[in-house]
């Protein structure tokens, strides 16, 4: 069944995003990995919507895309706020706070 392929792809994308957030040091790359995780969920939603033959999953995917745009805007704003006066961005520099 062709849908299974899409689901496998969604799972792989989700895992890649999760690993990326954990391993990459740049907040920008982390943000991109998070987007990858969200979009993996979107792919799964759309695939399931096709399997079930109803629109709930497609509507959910639309909603997620909209929210992801707002989320990215806020994330980028925070990164700019924090690193405006520096030449590079690295999450290891975020250490004024104790764990």
């Amino acid at each position: 069944m062709v849908e299974n392929g899409y689901l496998a792809l969604a799972a792989v994308l989700f895992a890649l995003g999760g690993v990326g957030v954990l391993l990459r040091r740049s907040p920008l790359i982390s943000l991109m990995c998070v987007e990858l995780m969200w979009n993996a969920a979107n792919l799964a939603f759309v695939t399931f919507a096709r399997m079930h033959g109803n629109m709930d999953g497609q509507v959910f995917a639309f909603l997620t895309i909209t929210v992801a745009a707002a989320e990215a805007a806020i994330g980028l704003a925070l990164i700019v706020l924090l690193f405006r006066r520096r030449e590079h961005v690295d999450v290891d520099d975020v250490h004024s706070l104790r764990g």
Binding site: S30, M37, D56, G57, A70, I74, L82, S96, G99
Partner: protein, 500 residues
């Protein structure tokens, strides 16, 4: 197609909050900040008050709106009242802000409250996600709302990245559940979970991933690392708001989700992992708080423990259990608001109010304030005759009924350890300050006072009003604590009745 007007009563409180937020922003545009400053706060408070007024008539019965997408049953409405109370108290404590950007701050606070209300009344997975994101996006920005405060910005970025990952888990979990069920409504999920003999693996995986997302919002161990930083970095009124509001909303949504998604025949298997997280949260929260020197961080770790205590209401998913959870949340609202109001008041009179050391000898300088704060700390520690004791007692009863022995053991251990944490602050208040220390404290106060004065001179509200508001929040919170602690029977009966 249902008539829009039929849905309006349920939507009205949410609209009141949203319109209040927009009203503040519009006022900022049409009136110069110097003249309009007091009005921003008035409009924001009016929005919250209006939302509460619209909520009260709904309490008469259970209703749904938009084809079941919003469920304004009495369970959800109770959370609305807790959230609105937290928002109102937090607005009153925010009166001390004196920056030009206060309009954005107030609008975000109201939107966060709206997101919490949406989350607490969600009737399907889409609305859960929407509510969670409205509240989170507003809070990410609010945590960073301290001009020039690098620590707050870093905390906000940390909170944002971890929150976004948690939302990813939640979303993927929802996708898998949708894949198994074929719909996103809680009623559809409940029918599916009860009507299917052998639930497929993707469904179980989906429920697990979703619970991970919820656990993050409740700050359960091991998804708690953001909480102490975000609590410390955020402006104090925001910390007060997020500590109670987020917890209440996430707890409501998680309880609804569990009631729908967990099949009754397999309750233990689904709830055991959550119980382990809750037990760990209680213990880690209590132990980590021992070493903290900042009261906000202590309250953050105490919040982690309390999230664990709240989970004790869930085993068995019975009405009595959930009623105990609601009762504890109402008590937690009072205890936390009292402490944060005390911190704001102390800051307003030129004291530090954040480090535990700055509380040394408070009992001799300000006996009434110290007494109120000590009462709140006793309540957090769970001593009678406060609501802390009654609430914990009811939660323990719920755990015994649900045969959750692990949780009960963790509760007892954690209560013992955390008593030391809270009583240490009380002991600091009661200690007679030495001469040298007093002069050092006076210097700090003298250094802080002109800084606060400068800000107030440019913009801001009269000093007496700010102190009065903080004092009023403190008095109301203490009254609530005692009332709930001394007369729990009537309140609890009403709360259990709410669930029926």
């Amino acid at each position: 197609m249902p008539n829009f007007a039929e849905n309006l009563p349920v939507l009205a409180p949410l609209l009141a909050l949203a319109v209040g937020a927009l009203g503040v922003l519009v006022l900022d545009l049409v009136l110069p900040a110097r003249r309009g400053y007091g009005w921003w706060f008035a409009v924001a408070l009016a929005g919250v008050a209006l939302a509460a007024l619209y909520t009260l008539p709904l309490l008469g019965g259970n209703r749904t709106a938009f084809g079941g997408a919003l469920v304004a049953d009495r369970f959800g409405l109770f959370f609305w009242l807790v959230i609105l109370a937290a928002a109102g108290a937090s607005l009153l404590l925010s009166l001390s802000r004196s920056e030009e950007d206060a309009s954005g701050y107030l609008a975000l606070l109201l939107w966060a409250a709206m997101g919490m209300a949406v989350l607490a009344a969600a009737g399907n997975l889409m609305v859960v996600f929407l509510g969670l994101e409205i509240l989170s996006l507003a809070l990410y920005v609010l945590v960073a709302f301290a001009p020039g405060n690098r620590i707050a910005w870093e905390a906000a970025l940390k909170y944002f990245l971890l929150g976004a990952v948690a939302a990813g888990f939640l979303l993927f979990g929802f996708a898998l559940i949708y894949g198994a069920v074929g719909g996103v409504g809680f009623d559809q999920i409940a029918d599916y979970a009860r009507g299917t003999a052998e639930l497929p693996r993707i469904y179980k995986l989906g429920v697990g991933l979703s619970l991970t997302g919820f656990a993050f919002k409740l700050a359960l161990v091991p998804f708690h690392v953001w909480a102490p930083d975000a609590y410390e970095g955020a402006p104090t009124p925001v910390t007060a708001f997020m500590s109670v509001g987020t917890k209440a909303a996430a707890f409501a949504a998680m309880a609804r989700f569990l009631v729908a998604a967990v099949p009754p025949q397999a309750q233990t298997a689904y709830l055991l992992p959550l119980g382990v997280l809750a037990a760990l949260s209680m213990l880690v929260g209590a132990l980590a708080a021992i070493r903290q020197e900042n009261l906000k961080r202590i309250l953050a770790y105490s919040g982690i423990s309390h999230a664990g205590y709240l989970i004790m209401a869930l085993p068995g998913l019975t009405e009595e259990g959930l009623g105990a959870g609601l009762f504890y949340l109402a008590g937690y609202l009072c205890m936390n608001m009292a402490l944060f109001a005390g911190m704001v008041y102390l800051r307003q009179v030129g004291e530090d109010g954040e480090s535990v050391a700055s509380y040394t000898g408070l009992l001799y300088r300000r006996p009434a304030l110290a007494g109120a704060l000590a009462l709140a700390l006793f309540a957090l520690a769970g001593l009678p005759p406060t609501v802390g004791f009654t609430g914990k007692f009811l939660l323990a009863l719920a755990a015994i009924r649900g045969e959750a022995w692990l949780l009960l053991g963790a509760l007892i251990l954690a209560t013992g350890v955390s008593a030391y944490v809270y009583l240490r602050v009380v002991a600091a208040m009661a200690r007679q300050p030495e001469k040298v220390r007093r002069s050092a404290a006076a210097e700090v106060a003298a250094a802080a006072a002109p800084a606060a004065g400068e800000g107030a001179a440019a913009l801001g509200l009269p000093d007496g009003l700010i102190r009065g508001a903080a004092g009023a929040v403190l008095v109301l919170a203490v009254a609530g604590m005692l009332l709930l602690g001394v007369l729990p029977g009537r309140v609890l009966a009403a709360l259990t009745g709410l669930l029926g």
